[in-house]
C-alpha cells in the first residue's frame, strides 16, 4: 500500500517521461485557465472586497453572449470572420453594461455591509445571470466559433523522450493569449492613471476617496475588467470543449486556486492556478487509479487545504495582522 502511494507513481513517471510531459502540459493548460478565472475573482476582491461568486457564471454568460450573437448574425446571412469580431465587440459591450448595472443596482446600495452579505448578493447575481442566459440563448451546449475568431485547431505531435507528446494548437493559443492578457493587465495596473487609482482603492478605500478617486467609477471599471477576463476565459474554455452551463462547475475549481494564491494577489492567482492544474492532472493520472478514479473533483481542494494549513493567508496573500 505504502509502495503504491509513495514509490510506484514516481517509478511510473521515470519509466515513461513522455507521458509525464504530456500530463504536465495538460495540467499547465488547465492551470492557465483556472488562473484566468481566479484572476477575475482577484481583480474584484482587491478593488471592492467582494468575494465575487458570479465570476464563474460571468465566464459562461459572456461566452454564451458571444456565440448567441454570432448565431443571430448568421441567421441574417452575416457570418464569417468579420461577424465573429463584431459579435466579440458586442459581447464586450454587454459585459460593460453588466458591470455598470451591477455597480449601480447591487454594489452601491450594499456599500459598507459585511463581506458575507456582499458574497450572498453575488449569488443573487449568479441566479439572475443563469436565468437570463438560459432564457435568451437557451440552455443547450453550443459550439464555440473558434475558426471564425482565427483560433487554430488540430494538434502538433512532437517526438521527445522516446515517445510522442501531442500539443493541441488551441492550448498553445490559450496559453499565449492568457500570458499576453496578464502582461497587459500588469502594464495597465502599473502605468496608467486608472490602474494607479485601482491600486489606491485596493490599498484603502477611505484614503482613495479622500484624494478624490470615485469609488463607484472604479468598481464599474473593475467589474468590466473582470468581465473581459471572463470573456477571454469563456472563449478559450469554450474552444476546448463547448459552451454550456457545465462550465460553472469548472469555475468552482477557481476557488481553491484563489485561496492557494491568496485572495488579494494577482501573481498568487497565476501560481495557484498552475499548482492546482498540474497537481490535479498528476494526481488523477498517477494516484487516481489507486482510489478508483474521479478524484479530480476534490483533489484541488485538498491541495489548497494543505497549503492553507501551512500559510493561512495563501501563498502570496497579505499577512493577516489581528489586533484587539
Amino acid at each position: 500500500m505504502l509502495y503504491n502511494v509513495f514509490i510506484d507513481p514516481f517509478v511510473q513517471m521515470a519509466g515513461a517521461p513522455d507521458l509525464l510531459v504530456q500530463a504536465l502540459w495538460e495540467g499547465l493548460v488547465s492551470g492557465v485557465l483556472y488562473a484566468l478565472i481566479a484572476l477575475g475573482f482577484v481583480l474584484i476582491f482587491k478593488a471592492s472586497g467582494v468575494f465575487n461568486f458570479a465570476q464563474g457564471i460571468m465566464v459562461v454568460f459572456s461566452a454564451l453572449t458571444l456565440v448567441g450573437l454570432y448565431e443571430k448574425f448568421a441567421a441574417f446571412g452575416f457570418s464569417g470572420h468579420l461577424a465573429a469580431y463584431v459579435a466579440l465587440a458586442l459581447a464586450a459591450v454587454v459585459m460593460f453594461v453588466l458591470a455598470v448595472v451591477i455597480e449601480r443596482v447591487v454594489l452601491r446600495p450594499l456599500v459598507n455591509q459585511p463581506d458575507i452579505i456582499l458574497f450572498m448578493a453575488t449569488f443573487g447575481i449568479t441566479y439572475v445571470l443563469i436565468g437570463l442566459g438560459e432564457m435568451v440563448f437557451g440552455g443547450d451546449p453550443k459550439q464555440m466559433i473558434a475558426d471564425e475568431l482565427f483560433l487554430p485547431g488540430g494538434s502538433i505531435d512532437v517526438e521527445m523522450l522516446g515517445g510522442f507528446v501531442s500539443f493541441q494548437k488551441i492550448d498553445i493559443a490559450a496559453t499565449v493569449i492568457a500570458s499576453v492578457m496578464i502582461a497587459g493587465l500588469a502594464v495597465f495596473f502599473q502605468k496608467t492613471r486608472i490602474g494607479r487609482a485601482l491600486r489606491a482603492v485596493a490599498d484603502s478605500h477611505k484614503a482613495a476617496l479622500s484624494v478624490g478617486i470615485s469609488l463607484n467609477q472604479i468598481w464599474a471599471i473593475v467589474w468590466f475588467a473582470a468581465g473581459l477576463v471572463a470573456l477571454v476565459t469563456g472563449i478559450m474554455w469554450g474552444a476546448r470543449s463547448n459552451v454550456s452551463f457545465a462550465l460553472e462547475i469548472v469555475a468552482l475549481k477557481a476557488l481553491p486556486v484563489l485561496v492557494l494564491g491568496g485572495l488579494t494577489s494577482v501573481p498568487g492567482a497565476i501560481v495557484g492556478g498552475l499548482i492546482v492544474g498540474i497537481g490535479e492532472k498528476l494526481g488523477e493520472f498517477y494516484w487516481g487509479p489507486l482510489l478508483g478514479g474521479g478524484i479530480e473533483s476534490w483533489f484541488a481542494y485538498v491541495i489548497a487545504l494543505l497549503f492553507l494549513l501551512y500559510r493561512p493567508q495563501g501563498l502570496f496573500g497579505d499577512k493577516i495582522i489581528e489586533r484587539i
Partner: protein
C-alpha cells in the same frame, strides 16, 4: 396595546431568564404549536403536507444547524449539503445493518456520525478563517460527495447508486417507506424538529451560546478572556453537523424516500446558506423564516403563471423563477441585510410602542 410587557413582574431569576419572558410571546408560541400540531394536519391536503410542510421543517432543521455554525460562531461553511448527506447515508447504513432497532434511534445516531465528521472538518478552523475556511469546507463537500458515489458499501452495492428507504414502523404505524401517510410523517418530523429547536434555543441562550458569540465577534479577544478556541469551535462544528446530519437523515427517510448522491451536492449547501442569511444570521426564528421564503417562494412563482392563466412555456417559467429568486435575494439583502429576523424584531418593537411612533 396588545403586545406590551408592562405589568408582568418577574419574581424569580428563573422566570426572568426564561426563553419567552413575555406572556404574549408564550401565547403566540402556543398558537403556532397548535396550528402546527392540530390545524395543519386537519386542514392541509396531501400536497401541503408532503411538498410544503415536511420539506420546510426538515430544511429548517438544517438551516438551524448551519446557523449555529455560521450565524452564532461566525464560521462560514459551504459543506452543509455533505453533512446532510453523511447523516442520510449513516442512517441508511445503520438501519439496514440493524433492522431490529427503532429507526428514530438510528436517525439520532446518524446525527452523531455527522458530528464526528464535522469535528474532523472543523479541525483546520483554528488556523484558517473567513473565506479561506469556506473553501476548506468545500474540500469536505466534494470529498464526501465523491465518497457517496464511489464507496459502494455506503449504499449496499445498490446498482442504481441510490439509497432507498426501508419500511419501518413506530408503535405499529408505518413512518417510513411507501406505506407511510403524509400525516404520520409530518407528525414525526414535527416532533423531532420541535424538540431539537428547543434544545438549540437552550444551547444558544446558555453558556455555550455565549462562548460561540464571543468567538464570532472576535476570536482573539475571546481567547484572551479565557475561552478555549479549539474546543468551542469544534463544539460548534459538532453540534451544527449533528443538526445537519439529522436533517439529512429525515430528508431521505421521511421526505424523499430515496436519494442519489446528487441530492447532497453543492447546490444544497448554497441553498442552506441562502436560507440562513436571508432569514438572519444568529437567529433561530430567522432560520425558519428564511427556509419558508427560499423553499416556498419558487413553488409559488412556478405555479403563478398557471394560476393567472398566462401561456408560458415550462422552461421559460423555470428561467424566470431563477431570475426572480436571484433578484429577490439581492432585494432582500439591500432592504434588510440582517435578514427577516431583524424585520420581525422591528415589527415587534413597533407593536410594543403602538399607537405611538416611539
Amino acid at each position: 396595546m396588545l403586545y406590551r410587557e408592562t405589568g408582568q413582574f418577574k419574581q424569580s431569576y428563573a422566570s426572568d431568564q426564561a426563553i419567552f419572558p413575555i406572556l404574549q410571546d408564550r401565547i403566540g408560541l402556543a398558537i403556532i404549536l397548535a396550528v402546527a400540531f392540530v390545524a395543519i394536519p386537519l386542514l392541509g391536503n396531501e400536497f401541503v403536507l408532503a411538498s410544503l410542510m415536511i420539506p420546510f421543517l426538515i430544511l429548517s432543521l438544517g438551516a438551524i444547524g448551519l446557523n449555529l455554525l455560521t450565524g452564532y460562531t461566525g464560521l462560514l461553511s459551504l459543506g452543509t449539503g455533505a453533512f446532510m448527506g453523511v447523516g442520510a447515508y449513516a442512517a441508511y447504513k445503520l438501519s439496514t445493518l440493524f433492522p431490529g432497532i427503532n429507526i428514530l434511534v438510528w436517525i439520532v445516531c446518524s446525527g452523531f456520525v455527522a458530528a464526528g465528521i464535522g469535528i474532523l472538518v472543523g479541525l483546520p478552523s483554528l488556523r484558517i478563517k473567513g473565506f479561506y475556511l469556506a473553501v476548506a469546507t468545500l474540500a469536505a463537500q466534494f470529498f464526501l460527495q465523491w465518497c457517496f458515489v464511489r464507496i459502494s458499501w455506503l449504499y449496499n452495492d445498490n446498482p442504481s447508486g441510490a439509497i432507498e428507504v426501508p419500511a419501518r414502523t413506530l408503535f405499529g404505524i408505518a413512518i417510513t417507506g411507501p406505506s407511510a401517510t403524509p400525516v404520520t410523517r409530518y407528525y414525526v418530523v414535527l416532533v423531532i424538529v420541535a424538540v431539537m429547536t428547543l434544545i438549540a434555543s437552550n444551547i444558544v441562550h446558555g453558556r455555550i451560546g455565549r462562548t460561540w458569540m464571543a468567538v464570532r465577534d472576535m476570536d482573539i479577544a475571546a481567547q484572551l478572556m479565557g475561552i478555549r478556541l479549539l474546543r468551542s469551535k469544534l463544539l460548534a462544528f459538532a453540534v451544527s453537523s449533528f443538526y445537519c446530519g439529522v436533517s439529512g437523515a429525515l430528508m431521505v427517510f421521511l421526505w424523499l424516500g430515496a436519494a442519489e448522491p446528487s441530492a447532497f451536492e453543492i447546490n444544497l449547501s448554497f441553498l442552506m446558506l441562502f436560507m440562513v442569511i436571508i432569514g438572519g444570521l444568529g437567529s433561530l426564528i430567522g432560520s425558519f423564516m428564511g427556509t419558508a421564503l427560499i423553499h416556498i417562494l419558487p413553488i409559488l412563482i412556478r405555479s403563478l403563471p398557471e394560476a393567472l392563466g398566462l401561456p408560458l412555456a415550462a422552461a421559460t417559467v423555470e428561467h424566470l423563477t431563477f431570475m426572480i429568486v436571484g433578484a429577490l435575494i439581492i432585494f432582500f439583502l439591500i432592504v434588510e441585510p440582517h435578514g427577516l429576523a431583524r424585520l420581525w424584531q422591528i415589527g415587534k418593537q413597533k407593536l410594543r410602542v403602538w399607537p405611538f411612533p416611539y
